[in-house]
């Protein structure tokens, strides 16, 4: 899905855990996430720590959309 949306010229960032698959399959902007059942989260952390972690990840994703790239890049 990531590639098809990108074909329209819309910058897209793939937030996923198994980045090896993202790369094989051809996503260009990738943000690695924590784990398959909770990519943008970590229930094992206390609430405030989980919040900071999540906020940082999403910020990285947004910044990735604003960054020019020429090849597959992990943020």
């Amino acid at each position: 899905m990531v590639k098809e949306i990108e074909r329209y010229g819309i910058p897209i960032v793939h937030m996923s855990t198994i980045t090896t698959i993202s790369e094989s399959v051809g996503a260009n902007r990738i943000v690695p996430t924590i784990a398959i059942p909770h990519p943008v989260g970590n229930p094992n952390l206390p609430e405030n720590e989980e919040y900071s972690l999540r906020k940082k990840m999403v910020e990285r994703a947004i910044d990735a959309l604003g960054t020019e790239i020429t090849e597959v890049t992990q943020f």
Partner: protein, 349 residues
């Protein structure tokens, strides 16, 4: 005696004996005769079938006036009502191959009539139509006509009689790209042991699953001013509103959903997961862990991004074929493009 099945034949100006390059611009014509290779082909059908006519069209004409050419050709097909349409063989002639492919796709898509053609494996026409028509693998020059026609005729007869079409290597056609599940006489583990023994002994073996090759896409241009940008959130984590109103499948999704999130600050409370491929406990507690709408809304308030797109898109990524995923991507992408969305965050599980 059983009725003979009807075949409509398509050739270019050269094989139709009108002329060579200088006649490549001729518009299509139809005659209720067996012209060019159609004559020999007709003989191969025996008394089971017959070629009821031949369409001749210049290769340049077809490729440069595709719409008009197809209009004429399809009308002939509709009038003549053949059981099978046969085109070529085009050998390695690129324009001829593309023309045969164009005819094949139109006939199959619009009228659901089977098409048999013949091309050299490198002819660009092959990729165009191999999944819809049966493209017999032929030589790269017209010298291969004698071998080509019987194979094309054989397939034609089977299709007309509704017989099962065998493997590409048995019937002589270029694989259509369909991976079909069948029964083997040996269980999988036995085949694996034999394959390993072959490898260890340096003997030849054949893999049952050639590795896929994925195509790449040019990275899209970055967003210049994030503070003015509209960002959309999409997920393959199967996060849906309570009750799964659109009944998205928990595996092998056949559809995607689109939900208005303009009035909420987070997915938690109203959404849950229906994705059958991961432990759902954490996502059900807090679906924003899979699709972080809450943080996007925060960044919108803080001014880091201009706006969170009003719709949230979701589907299930497990067991969902690449074919379907591609389709969803195309459909969702179209909506996002038309809505003027500047960037997308897509989360996966």
């Amino acid at each position: 005696m059983a009725k003979k099945f009807r075949v409509l034949y398509y050739v270019n100006q050269f094989f139709g004996q009108i002329g060579g390059e200088e006649k490549a611009g001729v518009a299509p014509t139809f005659e209720a005769k067996t012209l060019g290779p159609a004559l020999g082909f007709n003989g191969l059908l025996g008394d089971e079938g017959e070629v009821i006519g031949t369409i001749i069209c210049g290769d340049n004409y077809f490729n440069e006036n595709k719409e008009e050419a197809l209009e004429y050709i399809m009308n002939v097909v509709k009038e003549q009502k053949p059981d099978i349409v046969v085109a070529g063989p085009a050998f390695n002639a690129g324009r001829y191959g593309m023309a045969c492919a164009g005819v094949a796709n139109a006939v199959v898509d619009e009228l659901n009539i089977p098409v048999v053609t013949g091309m050299y494996v490198e002819n660009p026409g092959v990729e165009e139509c191999k999944s819809k028509a049966y493209v017999v693998s032929v030589a790269d020059s017209a010298g291969g006509m004698r071998e080509a026609l019987p194979k094309m005729a054989n397939l034609t007869k089977k299709l007309a009689k509704g017989e099962e079409i065998g493997l590409p290597e048995e019937e002589g056609y270029i694989p259509q790209g369909k991976r079909l599940t069948i029964f083997s006489d040996k269980r999988g583990s036995q085949r694996a042991v034999e394959m390993l023994l072959s490898r260890l002994n340096g003997e030849a073996f054949e893999t049952e699953l050639p590795m896929p090759v994925f195509d790449k896409v040019e990275p899209a241009k970055a967003i210049e001013d994030l503070s003015k940008a509209t960002i959309a959130l999409v997920t393959s984590g199967g996060i849906v509103p309570h009750g799964n109103p659109d009944r998205i499948q928990s595996a092998s999704a056949q559809k995607w959903g689109k939900y208005d999130v303009s009035n909420i600050d987070a997915l938690t409370g109203e959404y849950y997961t229906i994705h059958g491929g991961y432990d759902p406990v954490y996502a059900n507690e807090k679906p924003d862990r899979v699709a972080p709408l809450d943080l996007l809304k925060e960044f919108e308030k803080e001014g880091k991004i201009g706006k969170v797109y009003e719709f949230f898109y979701t589907t299930t990524g497990t067991g969902t074929s690449v074919g379907n995923a591609t389709k969803f991507g195309v459909e969702i992408g179209k909506e996002l493009k038309e809505a003027g969305v500047d960037g997308v965050i897509l989360t996966s599980t």
